[in-house]
Subunit: 311 residues, 2 copies
């Protein structure tokens, strides 16, 4: 359906540099920076429960949108809040939601610029648009990865997946507030050496497929190089499952995935600072070679989108 919609919407024009298909839309507003725009709707009974704490809901909604801006190498600037709420919604709920949004936005130097409130006879809907900026020459997209590039991630993976596996926690119940990698994303973009970047929201396995498709490449991940979080290791041990499956398929990591030339790697590691690690997890292959996982012994197997089924 995305393909059909993309055809209707047609060739980007009127300043639209990049439309449907990446983490955020990219718009040329004739200034030194490109405008980045991303929108995401959270819906009651799908993404959050009726009794969800509105402040946490607001923080999560803001944070996951900010991650999309970070994924393009950008900084978030302003948020627009569009709500559909039943008439029975207490004013306090709305105030607390806005408080959470504004609080989280403030940590990124992002302002809440406007809003809209509609009535609904049904579940509450919280739709956030976040606008950001990125210097034109520093824009990073999912496309641009080239065979031979190193694939890297900005942090350990599998922590949220482990928590869910261990405790039965659910994202819609717990509403984890991710820490979007805005600073690392900006630092990597400023180097102008990164070929492609995106955020890992669904899990490395699935998101790598998106990057590979957009760049028209294949990829190999090395099983013994994936930075599996301590939580995922413990959960794996305790539950008797492969910790790697939690790291590859769990989702909710909100780290950045990059593809960049090997010779620039030291410089890229330095760019993100001492407190952030840049883990080499794989290599970009030609498109025909598919997306594979190499086990320590050297055997290769196709990588499932969920990172799950082969372990």
């Amino acid at each position: 359906m995305i393909g059909r919609i993309a055809r209707i919407v047609g060739t980007p024009g009127n300043g639209v540099v990049l439309g449907i298909g990446d983490d955020a839309a990219v718009i040329d507003v004739a200034g030194p920076d490109y405008l980045l725009a991303t929108v995401d709707m959270l819906v009651e009974r799908v993404h959050f429960l009726a009794d969800a704490p509105p402040r946490i809901l607001g923080r999560r909604a803001l944070a996951i949108n900010v991650s999309d801006i970070a994924a393009m190498g950008g900084s978030p600037r302003v948020a627009l809040v569009s709500l559909a709420l039943p008439a029975s919604t207490p004013e306090e709920w709305v105030v607390d939601l806005y408080s959470g949004i504004a609080e989280e936005a403030g940590t990124f130097g992002c302002s809440v610029a406007g809003g809209n409130l509609s009535r609904i006879d049904g579940p509450r809907c919280v739709d956030l648009t976040v606008l950001g900026g990125v210097p034109r020459e520093e824009l990073l997209t999912r496309s641009g990865a080239r065979p031979g590039d190193i694939l890297g991630v900005t942090g350990v993976l599998g922590t949220e997946a482990a928590r869910r596996a261990l405790t039965g926690a659910r994202t819609d119940v717990d509403l984890p507030v991710p820490v979007p990698r805005v600073t690392a994303g900006r630092a990597l973009a400023e180097t102008r050496r990164v070929h492609a970047m995106m955020d890992i929201s669904d899990g490395l396995s699935g998101d790598l497929r998106h990057l590979a498709r957009a760049s028209d490449v294949g990829a190999i991940l090395y099983a013994n190089r994936i930075p599996v979080s301590i939580a995922a290791r413990r959960a794996g041990q305790f539950l008797g499952i492969d910790p790697l499956s939690l790291a590859l398929g769990g989702g909710e990591d909100y780290e950045l995935l990059i593809a960049a030339p090997e010779e620039d790697w030291e410089m890229l590691e330095a760019s993100v600072g001492e407190k952030t690690s840049l883990y080499q997890v794989g290599t970009v292959l030609a498109a025909g070679e598919g997306i594979v996982l190499e086990q320590p012994g050297g055997t290769r197997e196709p990588l499932d989108a969920t990172g799950w089924s082969h372990f």
Copy 2:
């Protein structure tokens, strides 16, 4: 509640020139133009019926957002589409909705830059964000009207109200697609002589109150100067109601309301071109004088927000 939210959101900063409270948010993106951003959600069973034709729905959703951009003196540039749809929604519905949005956007040189699709177990929600631009010096807001300014509107009023009164038509059933006054709004903004502008979506009476409050002024409308549409006159005759009440309180006009100095009026009339009329409907008063309607005999009465109850 808007007041409480505005306090939480705090002083606009980080490039936010104007936040909650006008037709669109205004953001300084360091280019020659200010960025304008507006968002509006249409919800099934509140704003449209389950069997609404999705193409018309898309056109209407786009047009009413574009009117908010026109109200600031701006041009629409890009639209972002965020949908919450039940799993049962046919793909064709989504494709038709997007077709309507893209078709209408195209008539304003506006592109559809991105979108998001969420699941909902409930009514369909169509949330549109439209971004536009306006040269910094040409931004027009609701505030800025000064006592002595002439109040003007860009066209006749009451046509949609008459249609509803005559036929029992309902906005949520018929989904009228307004013609936002983008060209006239730009022309008026370019003169740099207009003090305040907004679009008339709820009806002249109600929207004039918003402008007066934002500008901290009062206002007088002259009953015999209001450009009552032929449809409103006929409906009034036929139904035995005052046509003026349809023109003042009906809503769905989507004309522009401006306040500008008397000495510039001829130039402003010329600016909008021969095909658009600029009707003088009243005068801006000092705040203490309230908002009143002057009848042909010279008697004045307080103007009700609905334009309705005094006739």
